[in-house]
């Protein structure tokens, strides 16, 4: 059946054929120290394969769990099922086309994945972005952050077996997504940010929908949170699960809500301000527990801060153009630029190199989901198999970004 060693008293199931492609143990000798260590079974241990098609993996992810009874001993995520080679595609596209390739990386928060390459390219070309465009970017992306966090809440509850929260959070998300569709013309992959500004000014439909929604958003979100915040089953299950302390989180180079839930107040919007964030007032919520519950509650606090930012944007929005005057064909002079932004999952960054042609020479995209997924292995040992889904959901990875 498998190539694994098992204790002699282990009752083996006899199969008359091979198990097929998703047998947990790879059909070749171990390539590295770690792989050899992982794929050697101790006494009473066994492997179990989760995915690549599994509802709790938020995309196409395969995880090999090494278990002892019901307890997880170690795990090995196997990536690459969604790998499209976005970086290579961007090198073969011009600067405008490259932006729309980055859209589907984090497909629930596309405005953020557009934003970091746009800033990097603007730095390469020394473009000054009009202030109104910067405000529109902040406004639309904070809306997108709320939509993304709302979806996080729904997905996480769904992974734990609760169906109601996802139906409630989709109400919020749908309203925001409809608003953004009125603004950008798309519901998911917006392709709205341009080098030097945004594609199109705020319009009447967007503003009236936004005004309508803002008047009841805080109340509605609070009501949705009440479903989980006051749910004893949920709270007792999430508390103390998947704990990671501040020092380890920094060593694992975690960012965003997952790092702040461990007590490190690192937010790129404040740590290395970009756009108009220095002019806006908002707090950086942190929590010290570093467990799944803290990561959930922290995101709910972030929604409130996003509402504050949106409110300020609406009040401070200056008049003026939304695009800088730029040539159609862009050939920045040779150079390098790095830009990082705070996405809903953490720091998203782009490192772009120009060689003087109209295509980026190298475009590196750093995605927070990729980084966070590798720390699941640190959080899991000692917990139950069913908790793998809870821990993974609390880190909120998007496989489009993990696999690039």
């Amino acid at each position: 059946m498998t190539t694994t060693s098992a204790p002699s008293d282990d009752p083996r199931i006899e199969l008359d054929r091979d198990l097929g492609v998703f047998e947990p143990v790879p059909p070749y000798p171990p390539r590295t120290e770690r792989e050899a260590e992982f794929y050697t079974l101790g006494d009473g241990q066994m492997f179990i394969n989760v995915g690549p098609q599994h509802p709790s993996t938020h995309g196409v992810l395969r995880v090999v769990l090494k278990i002892d009874g019901e307890k997880v001993v170690d795990l090995d995520p196997v990536l690459g099922y969604l790998h499209r080679g976005v970086e290579k595609l961007c090198e073969n596209a011009d600067y405008h086309q490259a932006i729309c390739y980055t859209d589907p990386l984090e497909y629930v928060s596309s405005l953020f994945t557009e934003w970091s390459p746009v800033i990097a390219f603007e730095k390469l070309m020394d473009v000054q972005v009009p202030r109104r465009a910067e405000y529109i970017r902040v406004l639309s992306s904070e809306l997108n952050r709320i939509a993304s966090h709302a979806l996080f809440l729904g997905w996480m509850a769904l992974d734990l077996g609760g169906l109601t929260p996802i139906l409630w959070s989709f109400i919020e998300r749908d309203e925001i997504v409809d608003m953004l569709a009125a603004l950008t013309g798309q519901r998911m992959l917006f392709n709205y940010f341009r080098i030097g500004g945004v594609n199109g000014d705020l319009n009447h439909e967007f503003m009236s929908r936004l005004g309508d929604w803002m008047s009841r958003a805080a109340e509605q979100i609070e009501a949705g949170n009440g479903l989980l915040n006051e749910n004893e089953i949920f709270v007792r299950r999430m508390r103390g699960l998947g704990t990671i302390d501040a020092k380890t989180a920094l060593r694992m180079v975690m960012t965003g809500p997952n790092l702040r839930a461990s007590g490190v107040p690192f937010d790129v919007r404040r740590a290395h301000p970009y756009s108009v964030f220095p002019e806006l007032e908002f707090d950086i919520p942190t929590r010290s527990e570093g467990d799944c519950l803290a990561r959930y509650l922290l995101r709910m606090d972030e929604i409130k801060q996003s509402l504050r930012i949106i409110d300020q944007c609406l009040h401070q929005m200056p008049d003026g153009p939304v695009m800088a005057k730029l040539p159609r064909l862009m050939r920045p002079r040779p150079g390098r630029a790095y830009a990082a932004i705070e996405g809903p999952r953490g720091q998203l960054s782009t490192y772009a190199i120009s060689d003087g042609t109209d295509q980026p020479f190298r475009m590196r995209i750093h995605d927070p989901s990729f980084i966070h997924l590798q720390s699941v292995g640190l959080m899991m040992p000692g917990h139950l198999i069913a908790d793998t889904m809870a821990v993974m959901a609390s880190l909120d990875p998007i496989m489009g970004g993990v696999d690039k």
């Binding site: 590295t32 073969n92 390098r336 720091q347 060689d355």
Partner: protein
Amino acid sequence: MDRRFKVRLEARFGEQLTGPIRQRHDETEMRIGPGDVVAILTALHDEPELGFEFLSDLAGVDTGKVMQVVYHLWSETTTDWLRVVADGLSRDDPRAPSVTFLWKGAEWMEREAYDMFGITFEGNRDLRRIYMPPDYQSFPLRKDFYLADDAARSPGGGVRPMERSHVPSNAPSKALVRQIPT
């Protein structure tokens, strides 16, 4: 741009730098040899007056002539991003020390650089392919990898016409490698 930061870096690492420190926008760039990576990054991470506790990004780069490993770091002590470029890795056998002893989370980023560029990170205990299948032979983000040629060897290697633009069919193979002026 943090001018005083440049002076501080020059005073601390003067002899180990292999090129001038460059600053543009909110970025400071220093170039070092691959042999100094461990010493310099440890100093940047540990010394309180530098305090670069946060590894923001780790990327491999193929310049067409040499390979590079590029680290982006963040610290409270400066308003700039610090870019450390470990320059001059040979394209035939690129080797760089691993930084997983400082940031365990660099492990997957190094695996990605290995997968895409073939850079061997000495000291990384899990250096296997991460995106491409284990029996894959080439390194897709290298500049001498052309979708039209190399990908065709793997199953289902269809290429869209747009991606062919860099490969004139009659060009000599040496000229195909796109390079950046240094």
